[in-house]
């Protein structure tokens, strides 16, 4: 018990913000995983006589322009959001991790070159780059993920680089070198575990951003194919039919807001717990 209190999870469990975050995230994950069991309707079923229905006992969150049950679609959309989010965050995180560590460890010219590369990528307004890239590829989840990865790995790269640079000159790394530790050992045993903390914080905070990019792309019609029940396409349908039903936008926006709340608070709680400067209650 007392050991548990000192583990990260134990500490998180005593932070109300973290608990709220975890509850939200857990609820979303459960709903996404068991979407098929929870959903009252087939998410593709069109109830043409009940188009644009307002929330009711029959349709909890109303229906869309084709009379499809919004709640069932949002559940399904959770799967897509989490798939896109996790896949994109993992891929871009890994790319960023590798490039960032290369930049942090590499010679100065390579560091500068990579930094320049990161800055150049970050110079593009995300959605505009997404527009151009999305046109290059067939519409679909893969495209969305690729676009999101391209627009977001630079951020990881920068953070990991900074972190690596500061660790590289820290005393314990010098100590390892002085003991004759190999480069690989230093990187994998000593730098990596210490980079992962800030990295996971960034990833947690980045996940909702990624999901919102998907929503934005779908909103502009360059995201997932029509009919795919992503939150973004629900928002897009809501926008197209805003005068017929205001519920669709609300319903589509709600999970986005919840995801952001959940992951942002989780990220902040993680940061509070991982950053010793903030942890001591001085």
């Amino acid at each position: 018990m007392s050991r548990f209190r000192h583990t990260l999870i134990g500490r998180l469990a005593r932070d109300p913000l973290a608990v709220m975050a975890i509850v939200i995230i857990a609820a979303l994950v459960v709903m996404a995983v068991f979407a098929d069991l929870i959903a009252p309707y087939d998410y593709t079923a069109m109830h043409m006589t009940d188009r644009f229905a307002a929330p009711s006992a029959e349709f909890w969150l109303g229906t869309d322009n084709l009379g499809r049950d919004t709640f069932s679609r949002l559940l399904q959309g959770g799967r897509i959001a989490l798939t896109v989010g996790l896949t994109a965050v993992i891929i871009s995180g890994l790319i960023g991790l590798v490039l960032g560590m290369i930049a942090g460890f590499g010679p100065r010219w390579l560091d500068n070159a990579l930094l320049f590369f990161f800055d150049t990528l970050r110079a593009y307004p995300t959605i505009i780059l997404a527009l151009a890239l999305a046109a290059l590829m067939p519409r679909g989840l893969t495209t969305v993920i690729v676009v999101v990865v391209i627009t977001s790995f630079a951020e990881y790269g920068r953070v990991v680089r900074t972190q690596t640079l500061s660790l590289k000159h820290s005393e314990f790394i010098l100590a390892e070198r002085a003991m004759g530790a190999s480069f690989g050992r230093i990187v994998f045993h000593h730098i990596l575990p210490n980079v992962l903390g800030p990295f996971f914080i960034l990833a947690a905070m980045n996940l909702p951003v990624v999901i919102t990019i998907e929503a934005g792309m779908s909103f502009l019609g360059v995201g997932v194919p029509p009919g795919t029940p992503s939150w973004g396409s629900t928002l897009k349908d809501g926008f197209d039919h805003i005068r017929q039903t205001p519920w669709l936008i609300l319903a589509g926006g709600l999970p986005l807001i919840l995801v952001t709340l959940g992951f942002t608070f989780l990220g902040e709680a993680l940061r509070d717990q991982l950053d010793p400067k903030l942890r001591s209650g001085r």
Partner: protein, 324 residues
């Protein structure tokens, strides 16, 4: 003789997840007017909590559990926030340990020195003039130009001189110096000690000088208080305490300082053991676990303050038996 500062039975606790950490327990310290009183103690002895309490700048999770702090007779623990503000910087000021971080990095020296004169109804130019004069007094060359400088543009020694100038600017009754030389090189440490002496002579203030460095205390102070694990264990004139310590901890501490030993020794003295857990301090004497004089009474009863000679006491059951 009047005391500029009287701390009486001060107790401070912190709320922590594992319970109340009793950082200060019944600490009493007297700082007579015009004297330099050293507080010596190792890490964990409660020095920073003491300063926080004196300045009423304890962190949110700290409470003063009991006792009183009087500055020139005025009870500052019960003073209004407005009054406290008036006292701080005016009647009581402080020099912190690290001049690198205790000066605001984004404001010029002049701005910071003008700001602390905010109560004075004088023009900014006059404030700057005063500031420059004080910078000159602490030995900064070209003080007018320094007003426009930022802390990072000055060397460590200069910065600490600026910090002292700020503390002395309002000619306070009490100057608290929190390890002001620890972050400095030896040759600078001497400069700062000399400067503090000078300032004390000029302003005539009392100085509460906090340090873990026995040499500095011996060099500078008139009286000293020894603290251990949140308690003041001994107080008295510096010469007497060093010569005839009346508390085993003081004796051990002095013994441990290798600067005292002028011949090479094979084994340096040390105090074995470690600090007790302050969330659950042991009954009786706080030092008894590390004390080789401890007897059965030490485990049972908290030691009383034994007056050794007038103006000198020790919190030890065996105060009279302590040998240096």
């Amino acid at each position: 003789m009047t005391n500029t500062l009287t701390v009486k039975d001060l107790s401070v606790s912190y709320d922590t997840r594992t319970g109340a950490l009793q950082a200060l327990r019944n600490v009493s310290i007297d700082v007579p007017a015009g004297e330099i009183v050293g507080v010596v103690g190792e890490s964990g002895c409660g020095k920073s909590t003491l300063i926080g309490a004196l300045l009423s700048l304890l962190s949110e999770n700290a409470h003063v559990v009991g006792g009183e702090i009087r500055l020139a007779g005025e009870d500052i623990l019960r003073a209004s926030p407005r009054r406290l503000q008036a006292i701080r910087g005016n009647e009581m000021s402080v020099v912190f340990q690290d001049p690198m971080t205790s000066l605001n990095p984004v404001l010029s020296i002049g701005r910071q020195m003008r700001d602390i004169q905010y109560r004075e109804r004088i023009s900014d130019a006059e404030k700057s003039r005063r500031a420059a004069a004080m910078l000159g007094r602490v030995g900064l060359p070209d003080p007018e130009a320094k007003l426009h400088a930022y802390p990072h543009e000055l060397s460590g020694g200069m910065r600490q001189r600026v910090a002292i100038a700020m503390a002395a600017l309002m000619e306070p009754k009490l100057l608290i110096a929190d390890e002001p030389t620890t972050a400095l090189d030896a040759t600078l440490e001497v400069q700062i000690i000399e400067l503090l002496k000078e300032i004390q002579r000029e302003i005539g203030c009392a100085i509460l000088f906090i340090s873990h460095h026995l040499g500095v205390i011996a060099e500078l102070c008139d009286r000293m208080v020894v603290m251990y694990a949140g308690e003041a264990v001994e107080e008295g004139p510096v010469a007497e305490v060093f010569q005839r310590p009346a508390h085993p901890y003081t004796a051990k501490l002095i013994e441990c300082d290798p600067g005292r030993l002028h011949e090479r020794v094979e084994a340096l003295p040390a105090i074995p053991g470690s600090l007790p857990d302050l969330t659950d301090p042991p009954a009786g004497c706080i030092f008894r676990d590390r004390c080789d004089m401890a007897t059965e009474i030490c485990a049972r009863e908290a030691p009383p303050r034994v007056t050794v000679t007038p103006g000198r006491w020790s919190a030890c059951h065996h105060a009279k038996a302590v040998r240096p």
